[in-house]
Symmetry: D2
């Protein structure tokens, strides 16, 4: 599992929380199975990426909605986690996702943002982009908005 | 990939459509990756199962919500597919899932049912059960309702 | 506001909770505005009805989705309320609704059922039926399933 | 029904479509019942507002979630409508809404934006803000983000 954490852009994230988020990511075997990477974390935000692999697709060669959901759900949960006290952990209680265009590309990027933090519930939005070609910028033509998730997370005590 | 198709309980399913559903299932590499099985199909219904594996879990050992979503989304799409004309194929356009209790168990079962078939859109509900122990019945104590999905599918022309 | 509470079918509902649910219903001015009625309550279930009125419709003469949502959301919240301790109150934190067929009829009926009660969160499903004609039975031809909602409620302390 | 259409900010909206959107708004009696106003339209966007009234509330004095949904659903549908050909009309097929903070205020504003236009389906996001006090700006302290909706609309032929 490659990991390229870039949280320099948001200096306010408590290093202890950043470390906890990274650790949580590493403790999810399912992410390793699909080859997901923690691309970036910050206060109330998180990005998770997965490179295309043939064994992640459905019958038309699109990334399976379950894999799209996996990276989006994970990014949302970890974004929520960054705004919770250290002694808490996070669980997604529900999400809704619109699969807006075919998930075809070389790499998929889930970008999560907290809409509303809360002591009990935290609401996130997560966009998933399909990227094609080499080194494209954020708004390059090689980036297509393929899914949008709206997610509710709950803070629970760590056991 | 084990497959145990049981569609005897609903004799009305057109064998050509049943074959197409099985073929679609087999054409999804992501299902093979997680070890999912097509457990049952019928008119407007489909069941997909996945045995527990450590590499499908998140940080607490629960089945990752992405895998729960994968089997639920697949079961819903295929249930919708059984009510479409042979020349069509199906895509999920959106779904919403409530993760109601921890997905802990030996085996997980997604049970899909069409709520409303349609020429363009078909609406499904999918329940996911976590099963523990050996050979339990449908309502046995070893079966816990862990997730509910509500899904919208679209019929599109096959290419 | 007409009210026809029928909770005889489920003798287990604590009368104090039944009274609290009725009271909560009566304390919602918006329900009075649309002419909604509390049709039935029981343990983990609630039915809210609204007769057709021209001023509740959208441009095609269907009941406006906002009114469909209002009766469904209310029925779900009150169904959740029946399974909470007396000192709590309930708020819907989110819901998702599929508008499956045109909401055309003489009367609309939202039927809520708790899928998963919980100390903090309770999950409900709510079906909305459009009824036409006079005195039809539950499965009569005059009853069409026009919407399905999936809802998450939270228990909070009463102030 | 007051109406303050401000579509000057987006000169590209075809006047015929703008007129059709305004007309559709005026043809919805339910919006008149709650006192909703069409606040603004543009290409792929629409704003609908409703001033506080006691008869729109639930038991705690918050705007009822059904009314919040009504203005959000309407704004989303009309935003989708602006990107469809003139001979089409629009129906919401489903939506999901998170009620993120109490809908308390003097006025409520639903701001819709098309995320993904399409020939058949159009996906929208809609934010609802509760506004208190007099003449506050868009980011003023008197504006609180109280709900987020994610909605799927379908284009159908006008009859």
């Amino acid at each position: 599992m490659t990991r390229a954490v870039d949280d320099r852009s948001d200096g306010e994230l408590d290093p202890a929380i950043a470390e906890r988020v990274r650790q949580t990511f590493d403790e999810m075997p399912a992410l390793d199975l699909v080859g997901a990477e923690l691309a970036s974390i910050g206060v109330g935000r998180c990005e998770v990426a997965v490179p295309y692999r043939r064994d992640l697709t459905q019958q038309q060669g699109f990334l399976h909605a379950g894999v799209v959901s996996m990276i989006a759900d994970t990014a949302g949960g970890l974004a929520a986690r960054t705004m919770m006290p250290p002694e808490k952990t996070v669980l997604a209680v529900e999400f809704k996702i619109n699969l807006m265009s075919p998930a075809i590309g070389d790499r998929f990027h889930a970008v999560a943002r907290v809409l509303k933090p809360g002591r009990t519930l935290t609401i996130c939005e997560i966009d998933v982009y399909a990227e094609t070609g080499g080194d494209q910028g954020r708004d390059g033509e090689g980036r297509r908005h393929c899914a949008r998730m709206q997610q509710t997370c709950i803070a629970i005590d760590r056991r």
